[in-house]
């Protein structure tokens, strides 16, 4: 048995391969956790799952050796008042590795934009070291903080610890559990105006408002399947909302890109504007005569390329707001879908209220009509875009195309009366 820092670790020749190379390694981290756990035990700390990180190493090594997982499918665990946010995981090696027989996951609602103080992070880790394996994942794909591995009887105490993390662990604020199952998943957003000059609306505020207003939908699963809201500040869509969110709110502008010609000429000294900006414009909407940059804004499709290349010279217009894209999702019933336009433009000052109005109309319709595990995008495919537009009170618009300038929705009923 290899001994590191005076701690005996299990033999894991296959996992050790994953530690080689310059990149971060989850094996390295689990081993570190195993050592920390043992040290905490020796120091007399009261931790509930001693040896769980070691156990995880054993189970993983075995899984790699046998080329099959030892995690069982399903598992329903819960904390009081919540139907989502804790996910049951059991290992099928109850007798061999009892340390990880229960290895439930807790999702924790992250702050908007993922801003933490170190105090908050320390408090989270202290509470989790006590009630769980101490292993975390910052962050899961939806954006939650993922706490990996605890037993059923420690779920409620850990949920309580999160709710009082300020009082008992010195965090500046308490935390709440996130979403899972057929509920509203934890809303997420890009860092928006807190870090980025391109943000066309306050993504953090929108994300916070949705989270607070839809607590019931977030914590108590009630729908045919999951529903994700993501707020991206500009069409760069750094959080990939259009590929991953049923309801993507992407910042955009209605008027013209703001140009600082002097700054463009400064860029001209260091980059070839013709080559790197004009020729790269997908709709050929830009011209440059060596002195002045002109943009044909009517043909701009908001791809952001020119703005990204010359951020000091160009910025989004002044009349800002957002476009709502509907239906994006990763594969399940009908494979991956990229979201498409449901509402072309909502001005910034009306955005949150209008989104809530539309969201509630969508949920009512989808909950009534949707089949088990049918995402809203799939329901629209099944029922038709025209029915969906009636639900959200929108008129058909040329911008509501599946792929821009390529494959518009065709309203067959109108064509063949």
């Amino acid at each position: 048995m290899p001994v590191v820092d005076g701690v005996e670790l299990p033999e894991t020749p296959l996992l050790d391969e994953l530690e080689k190379g310059p990149w971060p390694s989850f094996v390295k981290e689990i081993k570190r956790a195993a050592i920390e756990q043992e040290k905490a035990m020796k120091a007399g700390k009261k931790i509930k799952l001693p040896g769980s990180a070691k156990g995880l190493l054993k189970v993983l090594e075995l899984a790699y050796k046998e080329k099959r997982t030892h995690w069982k499918h399903g598992g329903i665990v819960s904390v009081i008042g919540y139907g989502g946010g804790v996910i049951g995981r059991y290992c099928d090696l109850e007798d061999k590795v009892p340390e990880v027989w229960h290895f439930h996951t807790i999702r924790v609602n992250m702050p908007a934009g993922w801003f933490y103080t170190t105090k908050a992070l320390r408090a989270l880790c202290d509470a989790w070291e006590k009630w769980g394996s101490g292993l975390t994942n910052f962050h899961g794909s939806t954006g939650d903080i993922i706490l990996l591995g605890t037993r059923t009887e420690h779920l409620q105490p850990m949920a309580n610890a999160l709710a009082y993390l300020d009082k008992f662990y010195g965090s500046p604020a308490p935390f709440d559990i996130g979403g899972s199952g057929s509920d509203l998943r934890t809303p997420s957003c890009c860092m928006g105006p807190s870090l980025c000059e391109f943000a066309c609306y306050d993504t953090l505020k929108a994300c916070y408002e949705f989270t607070m207003r839809y607590q019931n939908e977030l914590h108590r699963p009630m729908w045919p399947y999951k529903f994700k809201i993501k707020c991206a500040g500009c069409p760069n869509d750094c959080i990939a909302s259009k590929a991953r969110a049923d309801f993507a709110i992407i910042g955009t502008w209605k008027d013209e890109i703001q140009i600082d010609q002097e700054a463009v000429r400064e860029y001209a000294k260091v980059i070839d504007i013709e080559e790197h900006v004009v020729k790269k414009c997908p709709t050929k909407a830009i011209s440059w005569d060596g002195k002045e940059l002109k943009i044909d804004n009517k043909n701009c499709i908001r791809c952001m390329h020119c703005i990204n290349v010359m951020p000091k010279a160009l910025k989004p217009g002044k009349e800002r707001g957002a476009t709502i894209l509907i239906g994006g999702k990763a594969p399940f019933v009908d494979g991956a879908i990229i979201g498409w336009v449901a509402v072309p433009f909502i001005p910034e000052n009306e955005l949150i209220e209008k989104c809530c109005e539309i969201l509630e109309a969508i949920w009512e319709w989808w909950d009534e009509e949707g089949k088990f595990r049918e995402r809203v995008g799939e329901l629209i495919w099944r029922k038709g875009m025209d029915e969906f537009l009636k639900v959200i009170g929108q008129k058909a618009d040329v911008r509501m195309v599946y792929a821009p300038r390529n494959n518009p929705f065709i309203f067959w009923r109108e064509l063949n009366p």
């Binding site: 399903g74 819960s78 919540y82 139907g83 049951g88 108590r220 009630m222």
Partner: protein, 114 residues
């Protein structure tokens, strides 16, 4: 795996406290499941609880699955209490319809993913 003793008979449960064999269920078993504190707080079954348990059980016997939440809420509004909504159901069954109501109604563990 955990077991539950009812009338001198040992019933097999799964890790989450669901009956392994849904055919072993009767009202006494439901009482015992509700009192079992290994999988959550004990629940004192009232008339309102029983209406919901029986609805879930009958739906399961007819269709082989648990009813969707939306139908459960509609049923509760009509038959249990006109003010009943999902939060009301969580007051009756603190860990929610899947973990508590379905478990006490003796359904097999609802299949479901995260």
């Amino acid at each position: 795996m955990p077991e539950l003793e009812v009338k001198g008979k040992k019933l097999k449960l799964d890790e989450d406290g669901f009956l392994q064999d849904w055919e072993e269920w009767d009202e006494e078993v439901a009482e015992a499941l509700a009192k079992d504190t290994r999988f959550g707080p004990a629940i004192e079954l009232t008339e309102e609880h029983w209406k919901i348990i029986k609805y879930i059980r009958e739906y399961f016997l007819k269709y082989g699955v648990a009813p969707p939440i939306r139908m459960l809420v509609k049923f509760c509004k009509k038959e249990v209490n006109p003010n009943c909504d999902l939060q009301y159901i969580y007051k009756l069954f603190p860990q929610g319809p899947a973990k508590d109501a379905c478990r006490i109604a003796g359904l097999p563990k609802p299949t479901g993913c995260v």
